[in-house]
Amino acid sequence: MNPATGPAPGTTAPVDHLTAVRRPAVRLLDVEHRYGDTLAADHVTLDIPAGCMVGFIGPDGVGKSTWLGLIAGARQIQRGKVEVLGGDMASAGHRRNVCPRIAYMPQGLGKNLYPTLSVFENVDFFGRLFGQSRAEREERIADLLASTGLAEFADRPANKLSGGMKQKLGLCCALIHDPDLLILDEPTTGVDPLSRRQFWELIDRIRGRRPGMSVLVATAYMEEAEQYDWLVAVDTGRVLATGSPAELRERTGTDTLENAFLALLPPERLGDHTPLTIPPLDAGEIVIEARDLQMRFGDFVAVDDINLQVRRGEIFGFLGSNGCGKSTTMKMLTGLLPPTRGEARLLGEVLDARNIDTRRRVGYMSQAFSLYGELSVRRNLQLHADLFNLPPAEAEARIAELAGRFDLAPVMDDIPEALPLGIRQRLQLAVAVLHRPDVLILDEPTSGVDPVARDHFWELIIDLSRKDGVTIFITTHFMNEAQRCDRISLMHAGRILASGAPDELAAQRGASSLEDAFVGYLAEASGVKLGSDGRSAEPSASDPRTHPTGGEGEAAAGASHSRPPRFSLARLLSFSMREAMELRRDPFRLTLALLGTVILMLVMGYGISTDVEDLSYAVLDLDRSTASESYTLNIAGSRYFEERPPLESHADIDRRMRSGELAMALEIPPNFGRDLARGARPEIGVWLDGAMPMRAEVARGYVMGVHAQTLTEAVAAATGSAPAALADIAVRYRYNPEMRSLIAMVPAVIPMLLVFIPSMLTALGVVREKELGSILNVYTTPVTKLEFLLGKQLPYIALSMLNCVLMFVLALVLFGVPFKGSLSTFFIGALLYVTATTGLGLLMSTLTDSQVAAIAGTSIGTLLPAIQFSGMLDPVSSLEGAGAVLGAIYPTTHFLDISRGTFAKALGFGDLGGAFIPLLLAIPVLTLASTLLLKKQAR
């Protein structure tokens, strides 16, 4: 058997310091996992030993994260068998039982954290999920924060932490429940060397306390992997080799793990990888110069008195801890940010942010991909050529040249969104140099890029510097990259600590490597004490009393890892509390929730009015007799009409009706008075503006009424007695005798708004977690789907009831609508109704994958049924077909009955009981549907 690919169970033996051989912590048996055509796991069979530190090494996108997700139970198994801690992860029962023993920290800085929650609140939330008591949580949190150095930042929101601190916080959250298996997916990517070192020391200390714990780590740093017990080398979804770092080096006959890995890769994957050589620098004049550069944001000094000079063709490395002001300095050097004080010069001229010409001399590549992901590679290049005003012929030649040089020719018509990170970074570089700038400013261009791709990238950079004389200003967290720079500056907390050639800096510090020198400088500047071996000293907080170790610890751990209950109110409420806290800190959603209701109530109360008053009209009186004047006076007297200056001619009618000035025109024919007297039945013409049919219909009704009344009065005046009517129709407008629009509309607006806003707010709830990544916590903690959904729903029900009260008060006080019925009926109905409408929002949220889709889906799912099919304007009984069915089951229909019944009809429970039953039925149906549709694992 080939030793490089034979991970037979016996091969765990070489981890000889783990003499107490136990069952493997994790077994993968013929596991296959695909995303479309890409194989992330290609029939993987692998045993991972327990109780040691296991590293997964390999380039980006070969499947490492997928494997870890499968092991953590966060991802659904497609084919094969995954056994973790002695059970099958395909079984939901086993997952529920072992999840308290597993901790999973996903890739991405602070991805499973809640950004608006403070450091303490984040850890506390995880403690609650694992059912820890208040006292236990406080003790554990105090201990974890002290040992990670986060104690003094306990109140800081997670989104205000630097990358390194986020990772430490993530670790605290993972360790709160004493896991037996700790899974870390690239925990130190994008983290500065000092924080990285502190992070691993922390892991070491924790392992010291809990020797039985297994740790699985995916990493891109080969130097880090050197320290692990056992490694799995991964490529294209397959295991290349397993064994300790020493074994791998030995097997391949190489001196470093990085080279060992390159040797393990099949030749076709390697491409033309050759060791980098850097030709000597022939530095020219000063190109970039910073003089006493300072940047303040309010009271905070982000960058303080930076002085530096970079010569033509030089590769200048800018190194520093996370959040030390590197990016801000670079933005000042590109002219993106005007400095508070001091000046930045480019080729001797002071940079001016508004000067378009300086932008032509600088190429800038930001930390994140900042090109158009939806436009093809060619179009991105073309757009930049256009904007930099390259003549078409030259642009075409230049694009072709860059495509060749940056190896982009095969992907010219692809969409960057679909390309691997390494190729995207090459495209960004190609765009940055397209207009032949004198200076290239590159902000962490290789973060997250695998070693092979990184070397390719550096070849290009060296080429640009040495062949084209481009001055390069670059930041990086990789020390081997910093080593390639001509000169570097170390920055910390807004200041430059030291500058010089890499070897000089190491020598000055008396350190064996640049990394040690860097860590030394940073530790000194930030006041971290280092042990004699360069490691930070063990904090005194590690009191053995609070850290159960050994057999005692196993027993204690066993106790806390008892089978979690199937349903826990505490877990449910912990989600409610967290959701409420997040809502309180999100001004946008809160404004929508409270102010939105008020605004929309005013808008709808006044806007959906069917009252028609003050209709403008004018008269074309061709008779001008006493009879015609007395006729028109009657209309002028009506409160429904408002008279405008008289009309002159038929053309005048046309013109003024056309302009919209008149809603109605009356035409009294010549000889009206004479004809009337003769009984010749003259005709009065009425012209209505049909543009708004509703208004025209109402106007017609009014004018006919006034007409009839005028005639009756005229006859009465002439004969002295009222004419005999055949019958009298006594109309009783019940519940709203004056037919006031507000009395009809306001009780209908409340149900409308209690469906739109609560469902919209809740709809963002689940999908937001999907988008931000914190849904992972639902996958990997004991919380059940029902607890999660109900927990998220509760705060919105409370908020919606507050809204309901607010609208109720507005209706009474501002709109002056009387409330005649039973208060308790109204509010109990409202409670059931908002439970149903928030449930509807949750259902939308589980159905969609993005917040935008959730907003759109909820709008369509609520606006149309609520406005058209729930009886707001036309009663449900007037509907036919699908609309009638929807109207009958839609919750709004029934609460509308309750609202109108209690407001206008003075009704109570006895009369409205029938409306409660559909609401009571809707709630469990919606909750059940959401629970069934929500996945407890990612695909």
Partner: protein
């Protein structure tokens, strides 16, 4: 190259880029097509005839030839076939909302009519269902009166009215609510997409980090903004013109007396204002969901209170005054004048001027805000 030329050049190329971006965004494309086809069609068709299947019950205490005749005249499609209920059921039926109308024909009704005693019928109307209550009451009164008159004509002649009222509806002779629905839907969609597309285009740049890249290129915020305004304006203009031509005029048979060209010009002018509002909102919201929530709060008042759905004159003065500051109100009034009433530029020029004025103010405000915030939009 001069600055002016380069501004035109950059605005042109950035605008073309917006088209390509939009072509790659299936959700937005679907939204545009849906809004200007199905949604317009549905809005036109969803507006029921003024009265449709109104639910009515009758208490027939008379059981005469006349009462039977009256009940038989209340028929679908305006009414459901009247349900006969007892006198004591009236309150219960109305309270439960089973019927909007209950007509009570008293005992000896026919006898009293014939005797010229002008007896009273009682019509109970559920006035919480206001629109149906209003139109339905008129219908029932007319039907009942007609039936009584026809019944009486066989017994004695009745006097004709001394003055005849002849009404004609201009611009929409049959008062077809579908016409109004279709045109209103197009007007409202212009507002909605004009704001959403430009705002979303800015937010997309922000979320994808491309705004940072634009800032290091030789383009100004003015060019960035103008490019989004013109490109998205063209999209909405083309979509709304096609919708007017093929969906409203073609499919729904709406008679549009006005000039499509004049309406197109008005739309373009208005889109300049709407897009500026979109840009302004895009500078306030940090991401697409926030933008979406904000859009609901801005769009609903603009659409409901601008006079597009209900007449402006029935709104309180404060609301009318506030709404006169928005470009939407003026656009709605000129769109209705052009499309429904065939008004020419001689009639609508004041509204044109107002849209242009308000649009310029919004554009200036949005540009000012964009200049101030664009630096902070970087990641």
């Amino acid at each position: 190259m001069t600055t002016r030329n380069s501004t035109l050049h950059n605005t042109w190329h950035l605008g073309i880029k917006e088209f390509h971006s939009l072509l790659g965004d299936w959700t937005m494309l679907f939204l545009i097509v849906f809004m200007f086809t199905l949604s317009v069609y549905a809005d036109a068709r969803a507006k029921p005839e003024s009265l449709h299947r109104a639910s009515i019950a009758v208490v027939d205490e008379d059981q005469s030839q006349l009462s039977t005749r009256i009940i038989a005249a209340l028929q679908p499609p305006q009414f459901i076939v009247p349900e006969r209920i007892g006198l004591s059921d009236i309150d219960r039926s109305m309270d439960a909302g089973l019927h909007t109308f209950v007509l009570d024909i008293p005992p000896n009704f026919q006898r009293d009519v014939l005797a010229g005693r002008a007896p009273a019928l009682q019509l109970n109307v559920d006035a919480t269902r206001q629109s149906q209550a209003q139109t339905g009451t008129g219908y029932i009164q007319n039907i009942v009166n007609d039936e009584i008159r026809a019944f009486m004509q066989r017994h004695r002649s009745t006097a004709a009215q001394p003055v005849q009222l002849v009404e004609r509806a201009m611009f929409n002779p049959n008062l077809d609510a579908g016409w109004f629905g279709a045109i209103t839907a197009i007007i409202n969609n212009i507002t909605m997409l004009g704001i959403l597309l430009t705002g979303a285009a800015l937010i997309r740049e922000r979320e994808h980090g491309t705004i940072e890249h634009l800032l290091v290129m030789p383009v100004t915020p003015f060019e960035i903004m103008l490019s989004k305004v013109w490109s998205m304006g063209v999209v909405v203009l083309v979509a709304s013109s096609l919708s007017l031509q093929f969906v409203a005029k073609g499919l729904l048979g709406v008679v549009v007396p006005g000039s499509a060209l004049l309406f197109g010009m008005a739309t373009l002018l208005y889109l300049f204002a709407a897009a500026s509002i979109g840009i302004f909102m895009g500078t306030v919201a940090r991401n697409m969901p926030q933008f979406g929530l904000m859009a609901i709060l801005v769009l609903l008042p603009l659409q409901i209170l601008s006079g597009a759905l209900t007449p402006l004159e029935s709104m309180p003065d404060v609301v009318r005054w506030l709404m006169s500051l928005t470009p939407t109100t003026h656009f709605v009034s000129l769109a209705q004048a052009i499309l429904f009433r065939g008004a020419g530029i001689d009639v609508v020029w004041p509204a044109f001027a107002m849209v242009a004025l308000i649009g310029s103010i919004f554009f200036a405000l949005a540009l000012h805000r964009l200049r101030n915030t664009i630096g902070k939009m970087q990641s």
